[in-house]
Symmetry: C2
């Protein structure tokens, strides 16, 4: 029989390596021996930043593994974006090749993290040596290998000078023990905690591999994630429908607003209002001579987005208001509505920012066949690119100069996403603490995209989620899915544009219910003035307010009978005192065996602030039943006990056993709040 | 009152634009006005290819949307990798901003796809014009805008010359109608199907945006996803334990194997076997002088991985075997086991490919405290990088030259992932039809990573999934999650290394059950010879075969009593005749109200091949009960009827109503197969 041997094969290496692929590709692939994948959180492959607030923990996790059985180690590396500064925190093994670590960024701004992993030859040695020793098979060979490992650490280029000195000393010690034939001594020294730490700091990182993406993180000031908004129309603050309110009138209202415990005081546009095609009362097309027009019809010969409507006051008045608000614990938020009345100065100054029709007329905003003839929209492309991008950025910077650091943006989904991404980043270069709230009541993916491109907060569908199943599903999506990494809801109970059907028929109990939900389910929530008075009169058949302040000056008795100012103050106090309410993601729904009662918990990771909320969604009839106390969150059995504080009454008691009972009359109080502890 | 106007604002544009950010960034962002995200399928941001086979549909989907309300359009662009060739298929709107399209690649090789989207001004015009016309508000202005749209199409640079001529002609016609004052004529012409098609082909694509990732697709020949493997040890094919089998003996067995209907005939290593530290019968350390050794102890002075064990035959014999197999509808698969006996020629020729200990001895494979002294492993880094990478690639290319296009790779998870990624890509440059099967019985993420880096097929946990819940959960993971895009299981019922506990105690019924499951649940499945004889004798207490062929020559009566060759032939025939069985992902589990019966359907998208399988998992006692006929898959009500063909008996009948009944005695037949149609 012939003997077929290797010689029958023509060697290919020399001849074919060039034909078949570049050695560069081989070497590039070889550099990342360790697989690092499934990195979380990460949005769209690192295209967009995840969001955190200053001091808020960020748990980074990833699947990390290598071929074979050698030990590996890994670390998250992180630091400010656009710098060469990298800190490092070890990742620890969780299970099933998953590793994780917690990092924190202390000040607002842009950051990024990535992951490195390497084969830890020293850990492999320790593991194998222990097994061999336990089996009585540890020989001098393994100890010689250990001495070589230590010796090699000197060439790692890692660790401090002191570390490298310690390495040399360690090697000496091992050599001496070896000369003495002291195997146990060498083994013990190699396994010592100090040696582990020293070689972690100064040892080689064999085959260190790096995750190719620097995952961007945007760190906000706390107010971006935790704030209570109060919205009012300055012109309605005079207390007299015949007198246009002023900034000074608003200053007089600050103690009231502070008493309710709000953080942010937000105004719809305060700019000059156009007169061409002005709207009259209740959105009519036939205004009277004294009708003030919609503040969203921005711009007249008195100025545009960088001017103040003269009847409200001067820039000096505005500055005084900003300062007075600060004295009352309130921050002013302005509306940024990129739309123009036909009288806006831009139309003459920058015709290329607008759409013109073949007959030379300007194109009004429209939703065919409807036309909105008091408003024209700017164009962001063609002749307006990039000039209007700069102009709009500069308007935000202008108001920033005036002390405004929070902007509620009107209809951002009708302006290009790239504009927002660029503009928000630009403004943040000047002040990373500027907060943008997106008023985008539109399709879910569009709303999410605005969060991705940089918006700090987003209006939500909360206003239309009333039933238990709806609220549970929607809040689970907002707080427990990837969206929570980049989109923070701001739960407005009402707005000048939305008089919710639920509140039109719920009476006062429904207002208290919706307040309780908004204030406790979201980190950010908001109230449009009138809500505290249970204002509900609609334009018949519509979710709009009758005699809306958008088209006329109104006057209110801010402390009128039946107001729910006490409830508002209660929840705002609770939000400030309980850390559990300061992170919208710390939410869990629990079982209340009644479909009219939403029952949920908010808790800090250490359970030191653990609140339970039962809110009846039925504003008309008493509701109650059995519910489950989440004893398991404390590791307690079903017959365990927790201490309870009723946060409304201040009473303290205990719940013994998992199943308890509660009953609520909505006319009395449609919510209950309990703080529980072990 | 002072009049605060724009003049009070210092213009920032000129002075600050440079400080605040580069215009380049603005313009780059502006280029992608349309959001394209959530592209599927896509693995790790395009880092790894998704897999399809030649002619298999690939459904691409993505979330695509723009700001505002204008109409958009989108297309998937695709073509062979590393070329400038791009085809285009329109994406169609599905729901909730999701779009999708189906594309197909006809020949094996590397491809990629991406997505483009643009604002379709013409569609927007049509939509708005229709609404205005329906409201009686269509004016000559809209028609003038339409004529301008058409006129502008001439500058699009798109469409054929004929298209551009047609555009000019269309514009002329519109102008003439306009001169005549024929509004209806213009409107109708703009809405005509031919105009829609023409402007789609030749109109402007306003703000065309492109998804930044070219998503890689690897297209395999069909055998990569659909194959039935038969594994045998050539040396046991002589029929006489005292005579070493040869390739010619294997040739004699081909008709038998063809009769059972297999596609692939796979051999464990056929290379020279080392004698140093050779293993004896039943893996003993004390071999007799005639013991042949494990074929996995590769290499002796007769050669290494590119040589044939002399007692099997010559390269000429091997060539004859490859050709004879082809004549019998069988393709030869070889084992690629990167490990060496201590006698492998490489050890002297390439000492830098191995690990050496401080005392100058070679490091054996070990799993401390165990040592495997008949095997040493190569090193892929240090002095072996890149030389052994080339050598190993060249060994695969060597056997490819000998007509072998399928490789079962031994323990790939103990070799670096980058090596596989590089090597598989290199081999595919020579022949994109080469198939690699990963024998990685290891942790789930490691197994998946091997699929990602290029393996066409993967061994699985199927061998250890016996209960209904286990099988349902595992098959759902394999067929319905992202893993199905890159990992194709090959369900081996047994292997030389695995004598499953289930089969050790199930008797013949259990063999038929496991065959039925493997052959119908996976596109690829395999049988190690002896299975058809219901061989089950274990090393006591282990999942290993007693008197394993790995350590001795065996002889079998291949048509002995109690064999299940008819069952094997039945399932292999069924697999070839029914398209539903050729895609492992076309699986759905249905309700059989008995936890011992796994009941599932496999179907083509058009339902022309729709099979139902009921397999009893209890090999000891009869089982039966009620089950649900998936009438809903045909859009039928619960009292509807389907035609049924019993694929085992050939009987035809009908099922009237959703709930039916079946009973199986495992000693008679532990499975039922029904083909249903409307």
């Amino acid at each position: 029989m012939d003997r077929p041997v290797a010689a029958t094969r023509k060697p290919r290496r020399a001849s074919k390596s060039k034909d078949l692929g570049s050695e560069a590709r081989l070497m590039a692939l070889a550099e990342n021996r360790i697989a690092i994948e499934g990195v979380a959180p990460e949005i769209d492959g690192g295209r967009f930043a995840i969001k955190r607030t200053e001091g808020e923990p960020l748990v980074v996790s990833a699947d990390i593994f290598s071929d074979g059985h050698d030990e590996i180690a890994a670390a998250v590396v992180y630091g400010p974006a656009d710098t060469e500064t990298w800190s490092e925190t070890p990742l620890t093994f969780v299970a099933n090749d998953r590793w994780s670590a917690e990092i924190v960024f202390d000040t607002p701004g842009p950051y990024r993290f990535s992951i490195v992993a390497w084969r830890d030859l020293y850990a492999t040695w320790r593991d194998e040596a222990t097994k061999k020793r336990d089996a009585g098979k540890l020989t001098d060979l393994e100890l010689t290998e250990a001495r070589e490992l230590v010796k090699n650490a000197a060439t790692s280029g890692r660790g401090s000078k002191a570390d490298q000195k310690a390495v040399a000393k360690l090697h000496d010690k091992l050599e001496k023990l070896s000369v003495k034939g002291d195997a146990d001594g060498q083994y013990d020294l190699m396994q010592a905690a100090a040696t582990v730490a020293l070689l972690q700091a100064a040892g080689h990182r064999t085959h260190q591999s790096r995750y190719p993406i620097d995952v961007p993180v945007w760190v906000d000031r706390t107010a971006a994630a935790f704030s209570a908004w109060y919205e009012l129309m300055p012109r309605s603050q005079s207390g007299d429908v015949n007198r246009h309110g002023t900034f000074d009138d608003v200053i007089k209202r600050l103690p009231d607003i502070q008493e309710m415990g709000f953080d942010v005081l937000y105004f719809p546009p305060i700019h000059p209002i156009g007169s061409t095609n002005r709207k009259g009362k209740n959105n009519s097309l036939t205004p009277g001579p004294d009708d003030p027009g919609s503040p969203y019809a921005i711009g007249s010969d008195e100025g545009g987005h960088d001017a103040i409507h003269p009847e409200l006051g001067t820039f000096e008045d505005f500055a005084r208001l900003v300062e007075a608000a600060k004295q009352h614990g309130l921050e002013i938020a302005l509306d940024f509505a990129i739309q123009c009345s036909p009288d806006h100065p831009w139309i003459k100054q920058h015709p290329d920012w607008f759409d013109w029709r073949p007959d030379g007329t300007i194109k009004f905003a429209e939703n065919p066949p409807k036309k909105y003839e008091d408003i024209v929209n700017v164009h962001f492309y063609r002749g307006a690119l990039p000039s209007i991008w700069y102009e709009l950025r500069d308007i935000v910077l202008f108001w920033l100069d005036k002390g405004v650091r929070i902007f509620r943006v009107d209809n951002p989904h009708t302006k290009p996403f790239p504009f927002w991404e660029w503009m928000i980043a630009e403004v943040r270069k000047v002040d990373p603490g500027v907060v943008f709230l997106a008023e985008a009541f539109t399709r879910p993916k569009v709303m999410k995209r605005l969060g991705k491109v940089g918006y700090n907060q987003s209006y939500s569908y909360f206003t239309w989620r009333n039933a238990k199943a709806e609220l549970t599903e929607y809040l689970t999506e907002l707080t427990q899915t990837e969206a929570a990494e980049y989109m923070r809801p701001n739960f407005f109970v009402n707005t000048p544009d939305i008089n919710p059907l639920y509140l039109q028929v719920s009476g006062r109990p429904g207002f208290r219910t919706r307040l309780a939900l908004a204030a406790t389910l979201a980190g950010n929530y908001g109230v449009y003035s009138g809500f505290e008075l249970c204002e509900f009169l609609p334009v018949p058949g519509k979710e709009e307010y009758l005699n809306s302040e958008k088209y006329e000056i109104r006057a209110f008795d801010w402390k009128g009978e039946g107001n729910i100012r006490d409830d508002i103050a209660f929840f705002n106090r609770l939000r400030r005192s309980e850390k559990a309410l300061q992170d919208f993601r710390s939410l869990a729904f629990y079982n209340f065996f009644n479909d009219s009662i939403l029952y949920y918990g908010k808790r800090t990771a250490d359970l030191s602030s653990f609140l339970l909320f039962a809110v009846t969604l039925d504003p008309h009839a008493p509701q109650g039943g059995q519910f489950e106390v989440p004893l398991w969150e404390f590791g307690l059995p079903d017959d365990g006990s927790v201490k309870v504080e009723d946060m409304v009454t201040g009473q303290s008691f205990a719940w013994n056993g998992k199943v308890q009972h509660w009953w609520m009359n909505p006319y009395d109080r449609p919510y209950a709040v309990f703080k529980i502890s072990r």
